[in-house]
């Protein structure tokens, strides 16, 4: 078990968003979380990644409780997340966005006495990742001027760049066309090879295509975790989620 959420609760004011949530993510699996809007998926991510602290419960990363730790501590322990709303360095070049994401993992913490252009390992790795993202031709462009799909790709790229073992993606294909989605899924598949992926996604094709296991989040708790086939067949899930989707 690489990541485990035990009995997590979180309220914002009087609104209970997460109620007694339990989730187990196995090492090396691709685990999707689905659920209707407002079910608490993004909140769950914010709790795991340290953006907010849960009111109660434990979040175990390799058996160690990380609940309430600041985001940078969690990131340093090898858990990296992307954001549903693109969260990049708009006024830096695309190349610099990736390079910044690489700095801490590659050991350049508060380097005041090294020339960044001479750090061959860092620059080569950044170039390599840009290639994987098909952003190499855009490397010197300011990230804020990229197209929406390119920004989404950069968002995912910054998340996987760190080489973290546990990767949390929050709707990586939201707003993308079919072919852009296919590209992104291919990228995610390649980048998470041998790693653990937790993905929140609304696109059911992506979910069933990518996931080894699926958890269904409804009203702040997980109502089922199983293989894609059995989730599809699960009556409770159909009622709570897929049924709605079918009706719409």
């Amino acid at each position: 078990m690489i990541l485990e959420l035990k009995d997590i609760c979180k309220s914002y004011g009087r609104t209970e968003v997460i109620r007694n949530l339990h989730l187990q993510v196995e090492e090396g699996e691709r685990h999707a979380v689905i659920g209707p809007n407002g079910a608490g998926k993004s909140t769950m991510y914010n709790l795991i990644s340290g953006r907010h602290a849960p009111d109660s419960g434990e979040i175990l990363l390799r058996g160690e409780n990380i609940a309430g730790q600041p985001p940078y501590e969690i990131a340093r322990q090898g858990l990296s997340r992307s954001f549903q709303i693109t969260n990049i360095f708009h006024r830096l070049s695309v190349f610099e966005n990736i390079r910044c994401a690489l700095m801490w993992p590659m050991g350049y913490h508060f380097s005041l006495f090294k020339r960044v252009s001479r750090l061959r390992d860092l620059n080569e790795r950044a170039t390599q990742i840009l290639g994987q993202l098909h952003l190499d031709s855009r490397s010197e462009v300011l990230a804020g001027t990229l197209t929406y799909a390119e920004q989404r790709a950069l968002e995912v790229g910054m998340t996987i760049a760190s080489g973290a073992q546990v990767i949390l993606l929050d709707e990586p294909t939201a707003g993308m066309s079919r072919s852009e989605t296919d590209d992104t899924v291919g990228l995610i598949r390649m980048a998470t090879e041998g790693k653990t992926l937790l993905i929140v996604e609304h696109d059911m094709d992506v979910v069933f295509n990518l996931a080894d296991r699926i958890s269904v989040l409804v009203y702040g708790s997980i109502i089922a975790t199983d293989t894609p086939e059995r989730i599809r067949a699960n009556a409770q899930v159909q009622e709570a989620y897929l049924g709605k989707e079918g009706a719409a």
Binding site: S49, P70, P71, Y72, A75, R76, S80, R81, F83, N87, I88, F89, H90, R91, L92, S93, F95, E96, R99, C100, A101, M103, W104, P105, Y108, F110, S111, L112, F113, K114, R115, V116, S117, R118, L119, L122, E140, L142, M158, S162
Partner: protein
């Protein structure tokens, strides 16, 4: 064609991408500038030398300040505190040295100032950088006022309102008795600090500062404790501000509480912003220009602060990149020979500009003279070699008509013409980029 990544800016120059011809041109220009700077004292013009001394100090201070403002997005209203602490530590040290308490060679004295700035940068920074944005600005303002008040109160340490004075000591063959020897000392420190601060922008930490400025939250999610990043920036900035303060002590031999007042904090903000905070060279340009104007214009007019204020407002509203921004925007235009497209519109714009500036100066000076006590009785006002009577309608008419016509020409002809010319230039520039 390789794109030239603008020099000295912070959009991220990559190694090996700059055209070498440009590099040689820049090296040549730098060498020429250095030679001129080294030769200036031989002219023996004391006023020029002492002006350059003040500019040098202002440059170091503004570069230090821009680590916060431009490179980290932290707007401080109290950065003179670290400048002032550096100045006081150094002047105190100079006093002790004169008493024979101990010895530090004069050229190294600014280091003592830097140490003072660093220590206080750390102690006060721990509180200041907890927040960014408005709260940060307000805390720095409060800390600045607090430190100024403390300085006046702590008579024993600061000399109260009179301040402390001490003499520089000689070192090896140098007596530092003349302004030109002090000039070389300041020049040395300006070059050293400039090189170090420029180098800092090229380090991983320098790039990280920009990332935190851009999007602090994301920086936290890629492993960085952004509080520590800001604190480190604050300390480095305090260090260099302290060096500038130390040089001020060595140069002036007299320091009082005014050195850390809000006026000084405002000055460094003006210098940096007017020069252009998004460019490394911006604060240098701003410090040089504003210091020169301050020292020279104050001989001609008491209303200098009004002009500085107007300049600041114009830059904030119309050229957020500052003077450096205006210069750099024209770089590619000159290089690609597109300036022909602009000349005509700039000529058109010059007419209302000259008219507005001339009648504007007239207006400001007239009102200033008129409102001062001397002329209260309705005496004549001497301006531009002519004596004007405020009771007469003519001077007012000239000014108001001049302003009116100026604004009309500006809005009706100048702005549309310049806008259209720039559109044409941008189309050509973008057309060149994409094959």
């Amino acid at each position: 064609m390789k794109t030239v990544i603008e020099s000295g800016g912070d959009t991220g120059a990559l190694a090996g991408k700059t055209i070498s011809r440009m590099t040689y041109a820049k090296l040549g220009l730098s060498a020429a500038t250095l030679i001129v700077l080294l030769l200036v004292p031989l002219l023996g013009d004391l006023a020029v030398i002492s002006l350059l001394n003040q500019i040098g100090i202002a440059i170091i201070f503004a570069l230090a300040y821009n680590l916060l403002l431009g490179q980290s997005g932290l707007l401080s209203f109290g950065h003179a505190v670290y400048y002032g602490v550096g100045a006081f530590w150094t002047i105190q040290l100079m006093a002790w040295i004169s008493n024979g308490a101990f010895y530090v060679p004069t050229p190294l004295l600014p280091l003592a100032g830097g140490l003072g700035g660093l220590v206080f940068g750390f102690l006060l920074g721990m509180f200041c950088v907890r927040r960014h944005g408005t709260i940060f600005a307000l805390i720095t303002l409060a800390v600045g006022e607090l430190m100024t008040a403390l300085t006046i109160m702590l008579n024993n340490l600061s000399g109260g309102e009179e301040g402390i004075s001490a003499w520089r000591q000689g070192w090896l063959g140098f007596t530092f008795g003349s302004a030109s020897q002090v000039y070389y000392l300041i020049l040395f420190w300006v070059l050293l600090c400039g090189a170090l601060l420029y180098g800092l922008t090229r380090t991983p930490f320098g790039r990280l500062m920009l990332a935190v400025r851009d999007n602090e939250e994301r920086a936290r999610f890629i492993g960085f404790n952004t509080y520590r990043v800001r604190l480190t920036v604050f300390c480095i900035s305090g260090l260099f501000a302290g060096v500038a303060g130390g040089l001020l002590a060595v140069s002036n031999e007299l320091i009082n509480y005014e050195v850390m007042s809000i006026t000084e904090s405002g000055n460094v903000l003006f210098n940096t912003f007017i020069g252009g905070m998004t460019y490394f060279s911006g604060p240098i340009i701003g410090a040089a220009l504003i210091t020169t104007l301050q020292l020279n214009l104050s001989n001609y007019t008491d209303a200098w602060l009004v002009y500085e204020g107007i300049l600041f407002v114009l830059i904030v509203m119309f050229a957020p990149g500052g003077i450096a921004g205006i210069i750099y925007v024209h770089g590619p235009v000159l290089r690609d020979g597109l300036w022909r497209l602009l000349v005509r519109s700039y000529g058109i714009a010059a007419v209302p500009a000259v008219l507005l500036v001339a009648t504007g100066i007239f207006l400001i000076e007239f009102i200033y003279h008129w409102s001062s006590a001397l002329y209260a009785a309705g005496a004549e006002i001497p301006l531009f070699g002519i004596t004007w009577s405020p009771a007469s309608v003519w001077p007012w008419l000239v000014m108001l008509v001049g302003q009116g016509v100026g604004f009309y020409l500006l809005l009706r002809y100048a702005i549309p013409s310049v806008t259209a010319a720039w559109q044409a230039v941008n189309e050509r520039l973008n057309g060149n980029e994409e094959p």
